[in-house]
């Protein structure tokens, strides 16, 4: 053995794949941690000494308790509702004869396609106490005068709209969990004499508990971060929501109270950490023997006389969450403005044409779609590499890198966006006002979703499949390209679709990082909203929804068809 090979062997596990993957992981970690450090540490350090004034200032906020209570209540209640509705939809779709093909397969995801700000505006158009379309339609039917009957600017209204945006996460993750649970376990339970409800409670639910835990974590993440919904609905409802307050502190206070904003976010981070800890504990204590990997779709459970009511409930839910807000946006863009009466004879396409010919909007749409495709692709591929490495290295260093990538984005996107401005807009990078800074921020901010998807995808690839490749003489890189990556594809595609939609419709980071030089849809929507041009707002939302749907629906459909267990190629 030559000295050279001995040196290489001494380096042991470090193959080129591991070197490249580790560098990539470190780069992603740095991309997440560096801007964060700038924005988080700066307020706490004055003259080279640690200064806890921001914490003091935060605690001194007169309405701190109200703020935390309102936020926690909205996130908690919508999270619970989302968990119940999302898992029920998933279970009905995966396991019972009430499912309706593509309709129940894909449509629960539609709220994803409607950017939250468009959804919030849609709901505002529908449910405003005085001139909401829904109220206009309901009042004559119920014989009510004046205002009502519904008011979306209220506790229940906000929780309802939050819930709509939480359900798709739960639906996606729990569906995947159910699809990968060996149906034989449930059939065995039925054979043992347990009824459907008992089977659901004793077998199906425990089997998807890890998925529900992951969904809960994701919901807490996104729930605290949602900004556009409370920005539009909360003030009139008299609710104080943390994300709105953070924006006020960052943008509408002079000088910006970055310190207090950051300190508030640390509270959120604490909550997320607790949930994350609980979820890992739960994962460790659950024996997930359910992954049988046979890939056969089980014979759906017969619901009997419940089938029609269940189907009706699903259709009603889908109509409520997708058709109504979209319809409101269409209506407002066709009427040209929002008013107390709708003159059906004077609908026109003026606003749509105005939007399509507006150069700023055109540019914003193009930029958003391109950024969505590029960032989603880069993010998901990088996440796949990181997941593979983390799985191989187990605990320790792998977990640390994983945490470095996943944790920073749990802070408000707005705070991190400020960090990106501090880090990259000036010397030496000079990326301010370019698409590059948006790209870096988008990728970094969405790594949690990307790695969550790829972690789930890799957990579906049995380790023997990669072992067999190594034995066959393929190195790590080839094994990754030829075996691991193709087998992860369904899960990665689902993650890609999620990333694409959220990035293309991003408002938070865009509000701070975009401008006239690097216009994106989210920023454009804010501009139009500030002008009070509801018709154009509706038109932009609808065009964006159509464009993203054209990309995402085929991808999602393909992923779900290919999906299920990668251990089996055939799906009856």
């Amino acid at each position: 053995m030559t000295a050279l090979t001995r040196v290489r062997d001494r380096l042991g596990a470090l193959t080129p794949f591991q070197v490249a993957g580790t560098l990539l992981a470190l780069a992603l970690g740095a991309l997440a941690v560096y801007p964060l450090a700038l924005v988080v540490i700066r307020p706490f350090v004055t003259d080279g000494r640690i200064d806890l004034a921001p914490i003091r200032d935060m605690l001194a906020q007169p309405d701190l308790v109200t703020l935390l209570w309102h936020t926690a209540a909205v996130v908690g209640a919508s999270g619970l509702a989302g968990l119940v509705i999302g898992s029920s939809l998933a279970w009905v779709n995966e396991r019972t004869d009430a499912r309706m093909g593509l309709l129940t397969d894909v449509v629960p995801l539609v709220p994803f396609l409607l950017p939250p700000i468009a959804g919030a505006i849609g709901w505002s158009l529908l449910g405003s106490e005085r001139s909401g379309y829904l109220n206009l339609a309901l009042r004559p039917l119920l014989g009510i005068e004046g205002t009502g009957p519904v008011d979306v600017h209220s506790w229940y209204g906000i929780i309802f709209v939050y819930t709509i945006y939480q359900v798709p996460y739960v639906f996606m993750i729990v569906s995947a969990g159910l699809r990968n649970t060996d149906p034989a376990l449930e059939e065995q339970s039925r054979m043992s004499g347990a009824g459907p409800l008992r089977t659901l409670r004793r077998i199906s639910l425990p089997a998807v508990r890890p998925s529900m835990g992951a969904a809960a974590l994701l919901m807490v993440w996104t729930g605290f971060g949602l900004f556009s919904i409370p920005a539009i609905l909360a003030p009139q409802a008299g609710l104080d929501i943390l994300s709105v307050r953070v924006v006020q502190l960052l943008s509408f206070t002079y000088p910006p109270e970055t310190g207090v904003a950051v300190a508030l976010n640390l509270v959120v981070m604490l909550v997320v950490t607790l949930v994350w800890y609980a979820q890992t504990r739960m994962l460790r204590s659950t024996r997930t023997a359910g992954i049988g990997g046979k890939g056969a779709r089980p014979r759906p459970m017969r619901l009997g006389r419940w089938r029609t009511p269940v189907r009706a409930a699903i259709v009603l839910y889908l109509a409520l969450t997708s058709v109504l807000p979209l319809g409101a946006l269409v209506l407002v863009s066709l009427t040209g403005f929002w008013s107390n009466t709708v003159d059906w004879s004077r609908l026109n396409l003026d606003a749509v044409v105005r939007t399509l010919t507006d150069t700023a909007t055109q540019e914003a749409l193009l930029n958003s779609l391109v950024l969505g495709v590029v960032c989603a692709t880069v993010g998901v591929l990088a996440a796949a590499v990181v997941s593979v490495l983390v799985r191989r290295s187990g605990r320790g260093a792998g977990m640390l890198v994983d945490a470095a990538i996943k944790f920073p984005p749990t802070l408000s996107h707005l705070v991190i966006a400020v960090g990106f401005v501090l880090a990259f807009s000036g010397a030496p990078f000079h990326l301010g006002g370019t698409l590059w800074i948006l790209m870096l921020a988008y990728i970094s901010l969405h790594m949690p979703q990307a790695t969550t998807a790829s972690d789930a995808a890799i957990s579906q690839v049995a380790p023997e499949l990669t072992d067999a490749s190594r034995i066959s003489g393929a190195g790590q890189s080839r094994t990754f390209r030829r075996i691991t990556l193709p087998l992860m594809t369904p899960g990665l595609l689902a993650g890609w679709a999620l990333l694409f939609v959220t990035i293309a419709g991003d408002i938070g980071a865009s509000a701070i990082l975009a401008g006239t030089g690097n216009e994106v849809v989210g920023f454009r929507i804010l501009e139009v909203f500030a002008n009070g041009d509801y018709a154009m707002l509706g038109a932009i939302s609808i065009i964006l929804t159509l464009a993203t749907s054209l990309v995402v629906l085929p991808v999602t459909w393909y992923a779900r068809r290919r999906g299920g267990s990668p251990l089996s190629r055939t799906q009856p």
Partner: protein, 379 residues
Amino acid sequence: MQTMAKTDLSQQTGEPPIVRLTGVRKNYRRVDRTLAAAVDGVSLEVAPAEILVLLGPSGCGKTTLLRSIAGLETPDDGTVEIAGQVVFDAARRLDVPPEGRGLSMMFQSYALWPHMSVFDNIAYPLRSRRGSRPGKDELAGRVVEVLELVGIPELSRQFPGEMSGGQQQRVALARALVAGDGLILFDEPLSNVDAKVRERLRVELLAMQRRLGFAAVHVTHDQTEAMELATRIAVMRAGRVEQLGPPREIYDRPATRYVAGFVGIANEVPGEVAGVDGRTATVRTAYGTLTGVRGAGLEVGAGAVAIWRPEHGRMSEDEPGGPNRWRARRRISMFAGPHIEHHLDAEGLSSRLWSGGGDVTADEVWIGVDPDRLLILPA
């Protein structure tokens, strides 16, 4: 059953062993954070063209040992040599990855890649090996050849998800064979199919090994499979090799009670060593003093067991001659096809005996065992 027992490695000349393990140890951390040795200091050699079977109950470390040879597991201690090359040495921190070890493996779950056709699955090792990458035609030729060898030439365009368990097994076997490596590792490859298919595959596997001449390390917990396939068997217990030898030796001269009980059926008579003399030993038991073949590690006065196989006992109505005889009660007799199995009770001990015909009708019988067929082992 295989009759020809291969001689010991030390008597073979020339070629180096294809696998040599010295002091291989692998620890796992249990949930309570204590260390447990899955493989506890194993040293053994595999000769070229030999089938070495690792036999033992589930959880005794067979898979871990096999994966250590493959390079899929990093032992904590010891060295692994393959075809004369050191591929793992804990002391020198040398660890050649699996793809550099030039061996093939068939997995218990088959580990077929669901996104590739049968053809692509089998061609994969040929396409992946460094250096000797064959041309398109040669590659296709080789794949077709092994597909015919394992008897599924018509399946080449299918995908693994579209095939029965038995067919998947053949594809996995073809993939292990295609590179023509001198060493193939098998991890319970026959455990997932029904008994009939298993028997047929066993015969085919053996025929293929004779024809192609590869060496194999074959893991199983099935003693019949071990006996039929093995050139030599290593009986494992809690991470260690308890006995290593040709099947006949393992069966006829088990070194310990554990081996005797794990391989075949063993009737045990407990007692105390009365005397040892050259190759024979005597032991005082409830049946009186018995004489048999002396096992290793016997001490006069210490506890011992006399062990005999069901087919080695003789049953009669009249008292037989010879030193080892006792009276027993016949509880039940069952016709098992090739033999009749009798369940006997004597002095509170139950035992099983196989006889060829139904000559004995009485319930009170005499049992006799030839001293050559009675084995005295430490308790």
